[in-house]
């Protein structure tokens, strides 16, 4: 935690945040993910060296909240933009922040190949089982039977297929250095999620290759339940389908004892 004069201060808003309030819906855990990233940048002292890549999705305005350089990518192309930036500025820290429509649907080609290339970037992947920004349509991560605005009678696996487990899939790639799944539905998991985010950035700053943290996240507005109910729903429905865990920790990463 950053140094402070108030010796009885236990927690304050991270310095890597700007003062702007987010546009996220009340209780949306996009905000928690943002906060954890900001805390990690603070703790690692990376902010000024970091360049973020915002997605198209509810996080499109992420660049308003982090006090570092930021670019905004076309829908799904954040890993390609990040590749371009990192290749000309190898000593900078480059991360993308992407939703599941952005990363797992339209951006499938870019994310798989960034991982296969072992591109030395960090990807924060928000899995909220739907397209938030455009009004809650079905995402590749939408659970079987789950109702969305484009699966009004519930996702029918016969015609609409099965959800994709990105962490598991990307873990099959030799290029991937660190691929894990975490969740944001309770304090304990938020803590472990933060640890994973920190590890991911460590992996990058030590040049150990591609790192991705998949975060199970809520979308109260489109799930049409309260923020509190959303946490429960995530726990009860998403955890079983998307097991938390470390899917790929390259030998080099283990060796580095991060």
């Amino acid at each position: 935690m950053t140094a402070t004069t108030t010796d009885n201060l236990v927690y304050e808003r991270p310095e890597s945040f700007t003062d702007a309030p987010t546009h996220y819906c009340p209780g949306c855990t996009h905000g928690v993910a943002h906060r954890l990233i900001a805390e990690v940048l603070d703790e690692m002292g990376l902010t000024s060296r970091t360049i973020g890549v915002a997605p198209v999705g509810c996080a499109v305005f992420a660049y308003n909240y982090f006090d570092c350089d930021f670019v905004e990518a076309p829908h799904g192309r954040a890993p390609a933009m990040a590749t371009g930036i990192k290749r000309v500025l190898p000593d900078r820290i480059v991360f993308t922040y992407q939703g599941d429509g952005d990363l797992a649907s339209i951006g499938m080609g870019e994310i798989v190949h960034a991982a296969a290339r072992g591109e030395n970037i960090t990807v924060i992947f928000i899995n909220n089982a739907n397209y938030g920004m455009t009004g809650g349509q079905m995402a590749p991560t939408t659970l079987p039977g789950m109702k969305t605005s484009s699966s009004p009678t519930g996702r029918d696996v016969e015609t609409q297929g099965y959800p994709i487990r990105m962490a598991e899939m990307l873990a099959t790639l030799d290029g991937a250095g660190y691929i894990v799944r975490r969740s944001l539905h309770d304090p304990k998991n938020i803590r472990t999620a933060k640890k994973a985010i920190r590890t991911a950035f460590e992996v990058q700053s030590r040049g150990l290759g591609f790192s991705l943290v998949e975060l199970l996240s809520t979308c109260p507005s489109n799930w049409n339940i309260t923020p509190v109910e959303s946490l429960k729903w995530l726990e009860e429905h998403m955890l079983p389908y998307y097991p938390l865990g470390d899917y790929k920790v390259a030998a080099s990463v283990t060796a580095a004892k991060i």
Binding site: H23, C25, M133, S221
Partner: protein, 181 residues
């Protein structure tokens, strides 16, 4: 003859539906009508508004800068739209949410405690219908009867049980206008 209305308030105050029910009424009354939501920078929450144009023949622009009447359900909306109303036009203010009266003297304006009236009816979510009643009464573009019939004809089946209270809300809104202008 063409009448242009703007309805504006917080998202969630039922402003869009209010504009739609007026549109239904106009259509059933055999008129041309357009209903169009506004495009503000807000993606969600914030202020929402819609424009309703009612006319006897083909409607040109569905967007208008100077409406004949405006219904404002919150302060930002009052600040934004009061200055735009045509001279001689109508302004309906939801007094429950806005603590200042209209300032213009060249238009007919009225402050209606929509939420309180709705609460009396027993459902504060009907404030928008109270406002519609008031707006219709003030502007004279349509009759309360038109709105009643429109509700009757177009209210989705699963909401039909709410019909009586909706109609009551509209009447109360209209009554309030008659009583206070």
């Amino acid at each position: 003859m063409q009448t242009e209305l703007i309805l504006s308030g917080f998202g969630g105050q039922g402003i869009m539906f209010a504009g739609q029910i007026i549109s239904y009424a106009a259509m059933d009354a055999g008129k041309q009508v357009t209903w169009i939501p506004s495009y503000g920078p807000e993606m969600r929450g914030g202020t929402a508004n819609c424009t309703v144009v009612i006319a006897d023949d083909e409607i040109g622009s569905p967007v208008v800068k100077n409406p004949d009447a405006a219904l404002v359900m919150n302060l930002p909306s009052l600040d934004k739209y009061e200055p735009t109303i045509k001279p001689g036009g109508v302004l309906v203010i939801n007094a429950s949410m806005v603590d200042r009266p209209g300032q213009r003297t060249d238009i007919k304006s009225i402050a209606v405690p929509c939420n309180e009236i709705a609460d009396e009816i027993g459902n504060s979510r009907l404030a928008n219908m109270v406002a519609v009643g008031a707006l219709v009464e003030m502007s004279g573009a349509l009759t309360v009867k038109d709105i009643e019939e429109a509700l009757n004809a177009h209210m989705p089946g699963r909401h039909k049980h709410l019909l009586p209270k909706n109609i009551e809300a509209i009447k109360r809104g209209a009554e309030y206008v008659r009583a206070h202008r």
